[in-house]
């Protein structure tokens, strides 16, 4: 295998490993749903093989991604006039349409989630008000958080759209990547809604996979935005993206089984965004695109590890 092909495979190893781990976790989650819950009561079977193996796979995936992150080569970023490193340009490659296509597709999944969640929230609100007016026991939700999640999905749509655009044509210094904070913040509302919906559920396995996927997605988007804010953690961002992909795939299995389509769409959106980052970022970190025709030389040794902002 020549050096170029080896580099290409090395650059894609994140995406390949994350997809493999995600599909494995999804298959285990499906097995768990079929075998690790008691029929009738829905209570989880203690130490069910599917649950144990799924936990092991998730932990091992996390550990493997830590190892990958440790050995991820990093090159010095182009400097700005102020001296700070432009890590937000690490997603740039005008010759590759995969990144923007994945992120734009992700943004449209977010807007689809918004379309699915708004009517649901309105219906919950109306049912709640009807029950209150009739002095009956009201339903457990009044729909406000569902509507807020739909609004958050709309904000995520705008943020993701901007992220896709920045892949082709980066925004002005320190602005482009901030758009990624929008899906991160929107994830807060989604997280609250998902937690509230399951707050009375004593079976943690029913909803913890979803919560973990949302949390990982939020932190992934915030780290992405951090690339433009002088708080760059490229290795951590890669780890977050990989875990977001793995956890989202397996959480989608149960969300689809429960027919919570809003969750399925939002999980798909963050899954695609994570896949886009795993596609573009590792090769760019290892072999940055040249600026104005001048290649950026990789810097060997510790000096090349620019994990923290150089602006202080």
């Amino acid at each position: 295998m020549d050096v170029k092909r080896k580099q290409k495979f090395g650059g894609r190893s994140w995406l390949i490993c994350a997809l493999a781990a995600g599909l494995c976790a999804a298959a285990l989650r499906k097995w768990q749903l079929a075998s690790a819950f008691e029929a009738g009561t829905g209570l989880s079977v203690p130490w069910a093989p599917a649950s144990v193996i799924l936990t092991c796979v998730l932990v091992m995936s996390g550990a493997w991604f830590i190892i990958l992150a440790m050995y991820q080569p990093l090159s010095r970023r182009p400097n700005t006039a102020g001296g700070a490193q432009r890590w937000d340009l690490a997603f740039l490659d005008a010759g590759d349409a995969v990144y923007p296509v994945l992120v734009v597709a992700s943004s449209f999944l977010a807007v689809a989630a918004s379309v699915a969640l708004f009517p649901l929230g309105l219906r919950q609100w109306q049912e709640y008000q009807t029950a209150v007016a009739a002095e009956l026991q009201p339903p457990s939700t009044n729909g406000v958080l569902t509507i807020a999640t739909a609004a958050g999905a709309l904000a995520a749509f705008l943020g993701l759209l901007q992220m896709g655009r920045d892949g082709l044509r980066p925004g002005r210094r320190g602005r482009g990547g901030y758009a990624a904070a929008l899906p991160g913040v929107a994830g807060c509302v989604w997280l609250m809604e998902s937690f509230r919906a399951h707050a009375a559920n004593p079976v943690l396995w029913d909803y913890v996979p979803l919560l973990l996927a949302i949390v990982c997605g939020m932190l992934f988007f915030m780290d992405f935005a951090g690339m433009s804010a002088g708080t760059s953690k490229p290795r951590r961002l890669l780890w977050m993206a990989a875990m977001t992909l793995v956890l989202s795939i397996q959480a989608m299995v149960s969300a689809a089984a429960e027919r919570t389509w809003g969750d399925v769409l939002l999980l798909s959106a963050q899954l695609l965004a994570a896949a886009a980052v795993l596609w573009r970022l590792p090769p760019n970190l290892e072999n940055p695109p040249p600026i104005n025709g001048t290649p950026i030389p990789p810097v060997q040794g510790e000096a090349s590890i620019q994990e923290e902002s150089t602006y202080e």
Binding site: K8, T41, L43, S44, R76, P78, N79, T80, A81, G82, G83, A84, L92, D93, A94, G95, S140, D166, R169, P170, G171, R172, R173, G174, R175, G176, Y178, A181, G184, V185, G187, C188, M192, F195, A199, A200, P202, V203, L204, V208, L211, V215, M218, L219, M222, A225, G226, S228, A229, G230, T231, P283, P289, P290, I291, N292, G293, T294, T310, Y311
Partner: protein, 218 residues
């Protein structure tokens, strides 16, 4: 990786969108990078502080939800079934992490055969114990010994739905629960609740947090 050139440097927008001054500020200079010591003190990241504050909020939100999921929760009491220990509207702290129900504990549980929302009750007996409820004397016996129950609101009467489950050996891994307001409580005596599996227990009520006038340990 393909070699390519950015036609106009790394400038983001067009002059009409962002102005020449913006482009000049954002232009990536060609040539060697400046020495670290020569870095400008001028802030190169507009909105960095805002980003950092938002990140703190997101991390705090994450931490709170994880804490409430795995360690402890705050639950609002609804209904009179635990009077005079708990009142409707009381805010209680519930401990979940590593909890196994014990006799006398106030627990929060969900029995889906009864309702989807959680309920608050007191554990009368745990797995392997025998419960006998005597409505004539108004007493509850566990393994033949009458419980001293200073916490109950009033003398127990036969419920409207009949005596229900009143003589039972609690299976292993299960609990028998009752409300402190015995005459206004749907609990293990009530057939659709019955004996409760330990796995249905969310956690143990530890503290009444609010209102402050009700502040106490449970």
């Amino acid at each position: 990786m393909e070699n390519w050139e950015v036609e106009q440097g790394f400038d983001g927008g067009t002059p009409s969108e962002e102005g020449a001054a913006g482009q000049e500020r954002d232009r990536i200079p060609e040539g060697p990078a400046p020495e670290p010591g020569a870095q400008s003190r001028e802030a190169p990241f507009p909105g960095r502080e805002l980003y950092l504050n938002v990140r703190v909020l997101v991390v705090m939100m994450t931490a709170f939800v994880m804490l409430f999921t795995f360690v402890a929760r705050i639950i609002v009491v609804s209904g009179p079934s635990m009077e005079n220990t708990l009142w409707g509207g009381d805010l209680i702290l519930v401990w979940s992490l590593g909890y196994t129900p014990e006799q006398g504990d106030v627990v929060v549980l969900t029995q889906e055969s009864y309702q989807e929302d959680s309920i608050v009750k007191r554990v009368i007996a745990t797995g392997g114990q025998q419960v006998d409820i005597d409505y004539n004397s108004g007493s509850v016996k566990v393994d033949g010994t009458a419980l001293e129950e200073p916490y109950i609101k009033e003398q127990m009467l036969v419920p409207g739905y009949g005596e229900g489950i009143n003589h039972v050996i609690v299976p292993e891994g299960c609990i028998f629960v009752m409300g402190d307001n015995r005459n206004h409580s749907a609990d293990s005596r009530y057939p659709s609740i019955g004996i409760v599996d330990n796995r249905c227990v969310i956690g143990r009520g530890m503290l009444v947090l609010f209102p402050l006038t009700h502040w106490k340990g449970l």
